[in-house]
Point group: C2
């Protein structure tokens, strides 16, 4: 391959990656607004100046696009929690919720998709079931370590607290998205965490 | 009108009401499975042996059908709380959650619809915004009364507790629907309520 050919191939590879990233960004917007079932490939393709056939050159199906959106978003969130343990892990989650309050579109993506994914035949049903199990596991581990460190009371029911804290965050997203002026999502979580330590 | 004519009219009115009720029951199933956006009038009509045109004789649009499903379900839930005050109101909500754990289809209806209704252009956006404001109002009233009765600590932050309790119930629905063997929805709410009184 001549040098200019190699440059051309590299250039087109880079352009392909940029287009994929653009499609993923727009898919987040469409799935957040309309869900997976209500959001159409046509709408996503239109938004990035492609035909549906052009879009399917980058992603083989709407389902693959959904899987990549979820993996990418989850990876970004989990990287914020990497290597953090005990009570610091719980505080890193509170930071994440404060950050989420600045990106309502992403919060909406999760609220909408997790709501529709409770249906067993939804393509993200397994993803969300596994995701909750994983998050419950990580949170339980952090709470056990916090207990050992004396950061939470020794008699704390770790399993019930784990389920409650995740449920609280999910439910807060719905109320906050519907009524942002009246619901202070980060403050309510912080009050919950303060009570957790203080008991 | 002759007596037999009157009987015929009454009979056809009764049949019409029965068909409407059957359509509403089936719409609950379809909206719970596929959401409002993913659920089609055709699927609802097929399930009750009607054409779409036949269904639209009973309900003028998919949107009207959604509105009637939500009004009917909400009416049934709120009637359980009628005339109950103070801590007894909170306990009646816990009873409702125990009851909900026996009707996953209805829980799924709310989880799916509230998730997609966070989008501002969703036909149930206003319904859910108002519903949460109303429920927060009722719950705050009950907690203030429980405080006056000495059933909860005098320093309880009523507004934060109100938002938290509703968020907890909503989030529990998602985790429970995804993983019913591992998440005990009523038990986690009861533990939250026990802590509320004990503080």
């Amino acid at each position: 391959m001549t040098e200019s050919n190699a440059r051309r191939v590299r250039g087109s590879y880079t352009k392909g990656r940029a287009k994929r990233a653009e499609i993923l960004r727009h898919a987040v917007v469409v799935f957040a607004e309309s869900g997976y079932r209500g959001g159409s490939l046509k709408e996503i393709a239109d938004g990035v100046g492609l035909t549906q056939a052009g879009l399917l050159h980058h992603f083989s199906s709407k389902e693959q696009l959904l899987a990549e959106v979820l993996d990418q978003r989850d990876g970004a969130d989990l990287s914020r929690l990497d290597g953090v343990r005990g009570w610091a892990f719980i505080e890193a989650i509170a930071d994440l919720v404060r950050h989420n309050a600045t990106v309502p579109g992403l919060v909406q993506l999760y609220a909408t998709l997790s709501g529709e994914a409770v249906a067993e035949d939804h393509p993200a049903h397994g993803f969300f079931t596994d995701r909750y199990r994983r998050i419950r596991g990580l949170l339980a581990e952090a709470l056990h370590a916090a207990k050992a460190d004396g950061d939470v009371p020794a008699d704390l029911d770790v399993d019930a607290t784990t389920v409650s804290m995740i449920a609280l965050m999910d439910g807060l997203q719905i109320q906050w998205l519907l009524d942002r002026d009246r619901v202070d999502m980060p403050a309510v979580l912080e009050a919950f965490l303060a009570r957790l330590r203080a008991r």
